[in-house]
Symmetry: C2
Subunit: 421 residues, 2 copies
């Protein structure tokens, strides 16, 4: 089964909002064996919405829309698509009652705003898709006159609401529709770090286009290069088997360049290594300003390993809170391997951690010199009484330099722990 | 002038990558007076690419593609589109020489990989768009046989490369094409915090659909609700004038709910308030784990205000590094207004800052209790010798709760500074 996705909103078309819904929808649909044949984005214009949905229906017969169901002036998806199916709009008392109850719980003075009445208007003959996370209900509209399946599912544009409705309401409905068509699309990603896209292709040689006939995609980012294998198969078990075999061939060539599979974050890998050894971690961050700590603590359950850290943005904080010596700061500068080493050792000593990280660098856009240009970053890891350090030249803008720095620091911890295991 | 955008890649269609290029392209084009009439996303299939580009050419005559120009097996954009224009592919020696020079600077052992030769293949009659940030050149292909303008611009998929090529090569070319068609689309965003989407619409009353006939879009996120006004006008000056007048009407109703315009981050607003008063800032973060520090230091030039902070993730760190009393932790718990207050006051004292922030909460998914459910967050701001605090219930998942907490803490600093000014 294939569907097309139409995402609706001037904010998407004008680029003020990045379309994360489309990506989430595609992943969830693929896992249910449903392919996305094409995606389109149109603005908040009834004629545009109608044209895009009609073309998609003519090609594929199955369309999911996001957006344009909210309580404000952007509303237009329901009437535009109702007109395509020759349906009138009617006011639904039951939805209105539910909205009123929901608003009571908000304790908003004056009760539910009148502008929300629009949310209780639905096309005749529509099935309501409940919204547990917000007030705008979704709509399932089917063309019974058509000899072929022909339907549109309308989901809200707010990501949390869209995700909940997809999981609770739409996917069960689609699974029921697709029973008997066991075409499964499954992917597996090998995450690499420390090697670029072309060099990976060369290292892989005859495997570069994919092992065992499975297509291989190269996805570079500030976190490294991900390699994604995709299998289309009759059953989930066959697909998993093909991916196992393909991933094993790639791993045999790539060795320690691979740090994880699928969406696993390098921070989670590092937390796992520390946890298995019973070690506690603390971080000392200058140019990353807390980003490494935020990465690590983004992972639920990190508190059994992560003690915390010091954001030593100002030079005096490196001295007073981490014990970096004034001589080191004067002699080598705040951005130096020597300072990074004292930051890592200092945060270990003050926090009682076995493993400490130090990061200091020039994220730019200002502050560079000929000797230490923007992107110069010094990293250190203190572990088992030894401190190792390195100086690297990062590329990219301020945000990329900071993100690459946090990722490189995590990789240093991974390597230090692997070597001493 | 209108264009259509076709973004290419299985990783986009399958949802493994979020399409940030499309949003960036749209914003930059709008600022140059060029509208995006529609956007489509197709997978790495030559037939899909050809079909989507052909349909877009038939509708609009002007198409920008991203993706499928890389050195690996995903390459397919150039030959698919060359075939539409009846052009053969040829090997370009000059591009190959430039690629070889670029690879020398990488100092990669063995020199340029042979797999990069594909990047030197270009359609006959194509104009090369230079890539300062990567190795894949872009392509401009024009159909001289057509009586109407009919062209495709092919940009790389890697965001940094796409952005550079758009600014350096494509926008100057499009500006030259559009001379004499002064239809400008400009937007302005008022960023609000502390009030929801429907409540904003009700508060605005007759202005809810937009002041002075300018369409108004409501864009809720974890940072608050942005209100975007859009003006289409004959000249940039007329558009700016219309936006000035519209924004002034909205501001008169919304007052202090508005914290900034356009893309200005709340952290930048807070830094500006602190800077103008000559005050230094330090942060003490528990559940946000460094995220607030990262937000603040993401802004270039923050070092004249931001001293740093303590990531006090473990309870003992709150005591040892911030001086939170054992009695407070035992009596009220780590997640309490009392603890948040001592964190804010403690980080001020230890860092020598005039303004300090304390954040402690339960980001989940575990750790909630009936008295303190997941999403319970206590915030405190120490400023001018006084400490104010609050306890809030945040909605969303772990990441949303953390992001809302950092944003709410920044807003507390903004309000504390505004009230004492």
């Amino acid at each position: 089964m294939n569907v097309e996705v139409v995402t609706i909103g001037d904010e998407l078309l004008l680029g003020f909002t990045v379309d994360t819904n489309a990506a989430h929808l595609a992943r969830e649909l693929a896992a249910a064996g449903i392919g996305v044949a094409r995606r389109a984005t149109v603005g908040d214009e009834p004629a545009q919405v109608a044209a895009a949905v009609m073309e998609a229906l003519d090609r594929t017969g199955a369309v999911i829309t996001t957006g344009g169901l909210g309580p404000t002036s952007d509303d237009l998806t329901k009437p535009s698509i109702a007109a395509l199916f020759g349906r009138a709009m009617k006011f639904d008392e039951a939805i209105w009652e539910e909205l009123k109850i929901r608003w009571k719980s908000y304790r908003w003075p004056g009760g539910i705003p009148e502008s929300n009445k629009q949310q209780a208007m639905i096309p005749e003959g529509a099935v309501i898709l409940k919204n547990r996370h917000g007030s705008a209900p979704g709509i399932w509209l089917e063309d019974e006159r058509s000899p072929m399946p022909r339907w549109v599912a309308m989901l809200p544009g707010v990501p949390r609401e869209m995700r909940g409705m997809l999981a609770d309401e739409l996917l069960p409905r689609l699974r029921a529709l697709t029973t008997g068509t066991p075409n499964v699309i499954v992917s597996r990603t090998l995450r690499t770090i420390g090697i670029g896209e072309s060099a990976l292709a060369d290292l892989l040689g005859p495997l570069a286009k994919g092992p065992k006939g499975l297509p291989l995609a190269y996805l570079p980012s500030v976190e490294g290069t991900d390699l994604r294998l995709t299998s289309r198969n009759a059953s989930a078990a066959d697909a998993a088997h093909a991916l196992d075999a393909g991933a094993a061939e790639l791993r045999a060539v790539l060795g320690a360049y691979v740090y994880a599979e699928d969406k696993t974050d390098l921070a989670a890998v590092v937390l796992g290594l520390l946890r298995s050894r019973g070690l506690k971690l603390a971080v000392a961050e200058s140019c990353t300003g807390g980003m490494l700590g935020a990465r690590i603590t983004a992972i639920a359950g990190s508190s059994d390993v992560m003690l915390g850290g010091v954001i030593a943005y100002a030079e005096e904080v490196k001295e007073s809170q981490l014990g970096v010596s004034a001589g080191t700061l004067r002699g080598y500068g705040a951005v130096s391997e020597e300072t990074a080493r004292e930051m890592a050792a200092g945060v270990c000593a003050r926090f009682g951690a076995e493993v400490g990280v130090g990061i200091t660098g020039i994220a730019g856009p200002g502050g560079g010199t000929p000797e230490k240009p923007v992107g110069t970053v010094c990293l250190a890891v203190s572990s088992g009484g030894a401190v190792r350090s390195t100086k690297v030249q990062m590329i990219g803008d301020r945000d990329e330099i900071r993100r690459r720095s946090a990722q490189a620091a995590l990789n240093m911890v991974r390597r230090a722990l692997s070597e001493t295991s």
